[in-house]
């Protein structure tokens, strides 16, 4: 499957940059095999190729267990693929770096740090002075709706609250590329909408590249320039869909846009079709 550069995202670049956007992340025929405890090989990702342009917002959709998180780990440099290779800005990814900030599905907060301590970790690490890091972090904590919980430890937070801390922790150190694994999965509809808007605002302001795993077709279409649809295990890329909707997007307007509705319905139908084909195993 050839992946077409997402023309749709060009709108947001300065008018001068008419030349094709440059790729920031290139994934080239990546496969991932896990060895299970039963000493069997389990193919989690099979021959994935994908190019992500600088500043693009790319969502990954796919059935549970298809390898979305694994793909993120590979781009993050946490796991090296069994075969194939991933590049960032033309260089092979050999390990994690502050240019790529992950928000893990399991949050992975530091249990020995408070909410504030967790969020301040990144900026402090980048050498931001304590007072400044604290101010920035408090602002982020307020943004994710956790004002008043600065001194709570992770064990004292609800699932959704932990997720928001994880989000704030990553945003706090301004990585160039955000690798978000269902970052709004544990949030109620209302909070989710608010944070989606906040994320879009940040993205539009800072031109970050975002790789965004989600289960909500709706969310993917609303946020992305490009939606990558994966098929059931072993994970393969089924289709890459450019979302050609105007920016800046506002939820209320978009909901009534027939193009938006068509994207959602089309993608959902594709999912259903994949199911009728039966599970690949």
């Amino acid at each position: 499957m050839t992946v077409v550069a997402a023309r749709s995202s060009e709108w947001m670049r300065p008018v001068t940059s008419q030349e094709p956007a440059s790729a920031i992340i290139e994934i080239d025929r990546v496969s991932q095999v896990f060895q299970t405890s039963a000493r069997k090989d389990h193919l989690a990702l099979s021959d994935i190729s994908l190019t992500i342009e600088e500043g693009a917002f790319v969502s990954i959709l796919g059935p549970s267990g298809c390898g979305k998180s694994t793909l993120l780990y590979i781009v993050g440099g946490f796991v090296s693929p069994t075969s194939g290779m991933a590049k960032i800005k033309g260089h092979a990814i050999t390990g994690p770096g502050p240019d790529r900030g992950p928000v893990f599905q399991e949050f992975a907060l530091f249990p020995w740090k408070t909410v504030l301590g967790n969020v301040m970790y990144g900026p402090r690490q980048q050498g931001v002075r304590t007072a400044e890091a604290e101010a920035q972090s408090r602002a982020l904590i307020e943004m994710v709706g956790l004002k008043g919980y600065e001194n709570f430890y992770p064990k004292e937070l609800s699932g959704g609250m932990k997720q928001r801390v994880a989000l704030a922790r990553t945003l706090a150190y301004h990585p160039e590329v955000l690798l978000m694994d269902e970052p709004f999965g544990a949030l109620d509809a209302h909070t989710r909408t608010r944070l989606q808007n906040d994320l879009l605002t940040i993205w539009e302001r800072d031109r970050k590249t975002v790789l965004f795993v989600t289960h909500s077709v709706d969310e993917a279409v609303f946020l992305s320039d490009k939606v990558v649809m994966m098929s059931k295990s072993p994970g393969r890329i089924r289709q890459v869909i450019d979302i050609d909707l105007p920016r800046p997007r506002r939820r209320n307007e978009l909901l009534l846009d027939p193009r938006y509705q068509k994207y959602v319905v089309d993608i959902e139908r594709m999912f259903d079709e994949s199911d009728e084909a039966g599970p690949v195993s």
């Binding site: 946490f78 994690p96 530091f110 020995w112 992770p154």
Partner: protein, 255 residues
């Protein structure tokens, strides 16, 4: 604070100790043990209070404590750093693992005569013996604690730009802290035992020395005073370690 101190749990903890003392008294009273071997607890505690205010006895305690703390501190520093390094780096692991396997089960007292000649009869040899014996429990606990740190915590820190060696201090160390502290608790108890043992074997001062001299001349009461002292020291030091644990692990679910 005060109300916490006098919580029912404290009474629950005192109860068995009171029971032990009662059994002790009973053994003496009903003649299961002659007073020359097992003096009644009242005598011992009376003598202890008497001794505690004397300068000579305070010096014995001080000598023991210096050796205990120094040896234990060395064991903690070495045990934690080697344990973490071995968990983090396969090359170090490959070297440390067999060495630990060989050295850990050695009866270190057997090396004590060699230590005496090497380091003299003063603090040095005893501190070394304490450190050598307390090291391995701490090292093993640290190693297991550090090698089972949740990977995504490390990933998160790496992605935030933490250099690899700093991750050892900023993530691996705090994440392994519950296990490290368990090792320290065991190391502390072993330190108490070993410092005493070393002083019993060869020494001119310290609680262990006070015990042997009393034991040789059958001064049973004076023999039990150092024993009670070391066991109270153990209790106090463990209490302190417990408080430290509560503080350090306040964010962890089990605290």
């Amino acid at each position: 604070m005060m109300s916490r101190f006098f919580s029912p749990n404290v009474f629950l903890g005192i109860a068995p100790i009171v029971l032990v003392i009662a059994v002790w008294q009973g053994l003496v009273s009903f003649g299961f043990a002659p007073a020359v071997l097992l003096p009644p607890p009242g005598f011992v505690f009376g003598r202890l209070l008497q001794q505690l205010v004397t300068f000579a006895f305070q010096q014995e305690i001080a000598a023991t404590l210096i050796r205990l703390f120094a040896g234990f501190a060395i064991a903690v520093v070495l045990g934690v750093s080697i344990g973490i390094a071995a968990a983090a780096n396969p090359a170090i692991n490959a070297v440390v693992r067999p060495i630990v396997r060989v050295l850990a089960p050695l009866p270190k007292v057997a090396l004590y005569p060699a230590l005496l000649l090497l380091l003299g009869f003063g603090h040095g040899s005893k501190i070394t013996l304490v450190a050598a014996d307390a090291l391995f429990p701490i090292l093993l606990s640290t190693y297991y604690g550090a090698s089972t740190v949740e990977q995504k915590l490390i990933w998160s820190a790496m992605a935030a730009g933490t250099p690899r060696y700093e991750i050892l201090f900023k993530v691996v160390l705090p994440a392994a802290m519950p296990s490290i502290l368990t090792g320290c608790r065991i190391g502390l108890v072993i330190s108490c035992i070993v410092v005493f043992l070393a002083e019993m074997i060869t020494s001119t001062d310290g609680l262990g020395h006070a015990l042997v001299t009393a034991a040789r001349t059958f001064q049973a009461v004076d023999m039990f005073v150092p024993l009670i002292t070391i066991s109270l020291l153990g209790l106090i030091l463990n209490g302190l370690l417990g408080a430290l644990r509560l503080y350090l692990l306040r964010g962890f679910p089990e605290a």
